[in-house]
């Protein structure tokens, strides 16, 4: 069986539309650049689809691994506790296996964006736009 990657872009969720738009944009950009990857979005709270619904929506896609990718800048309680719990990860593990279409699918949980140089470049781009 050939490997097929799914990416679940996970947003915090918000009453305002911006967080959802950003997560959807991120998902669209990834899907456009990586045509062989199945990309879905899911929200921790306040927006739809939920993370659980988003995972279920990989049914029929044939993914063998789903990378659960938090679209969050910093680690915090949502990253260390809330989302792992929703994903069904054991404490301290970033990997689990779920059943989709009666087959094992590995879930791997990625890290938040952090203080990468790309973030600094983007902050400086926003500075230049504001001047």
């Amino acid at each position: 069986m050939s490997e097929k990657l799914g990416v679940l872009a996970i947003g915090h969720g918000s009453k305002l539309p911006h967080n959802k738009e950003i997560v959807e944009n991120v998902a669209r950009n990834i899907a456009n650049k990586h045509k062989d990857v199945i990309v879905k979005v899911g929200f921790m709270n306040m927006n739809e689809p939920s993370i659980a619904d988003a995972l279920a929506s990989f049914a029929g896609t044939g993914v063998t691994t789903i990378a659960a990718a938090p679209v969050f800048l910093a680690s915090g309680i949502h990253i260390t506790k809330d989302i792992p719990k929703i994903l069904g990860l054991e404490e301290g593990s970033n990997k689990t296996v779920i059943q989709i279409d009666g087959k094992d699918v590995t879930i791997v949980y990625g890290k938040p964006l952090g203080g990468d140089e790309l973030i600094a470049d983007l902050v400086f781009k926003r500075v230049q736009e504001a001047l």
Copy 2:
């Protein structure tokens, strides 16, 4: 008088250390790449220095403009209300003038990171690291 740019990288602040580390990393990366720019960090709440203290710390640097740059992914109430209030911006304006060393210094308020393609690239980089 020659123009000199200051950048104030604004963080949310957190009880956990990650948000502060990220904002400090972003500031360090900008300072390393743009040697002619004076870069400071300030936090909306929970960490030091405060935004007000950070603005005051540009004294003696000779900056003529300070770009207040939120290190936030999405717009929300902090971006639209709380930080503009701390910066002394009038509602709907992204610019004001303050006095530093007895001289006028223009403050311009930048936008949050948003759903830029760079964010998507970074999310996918984190996906690849997790696999």
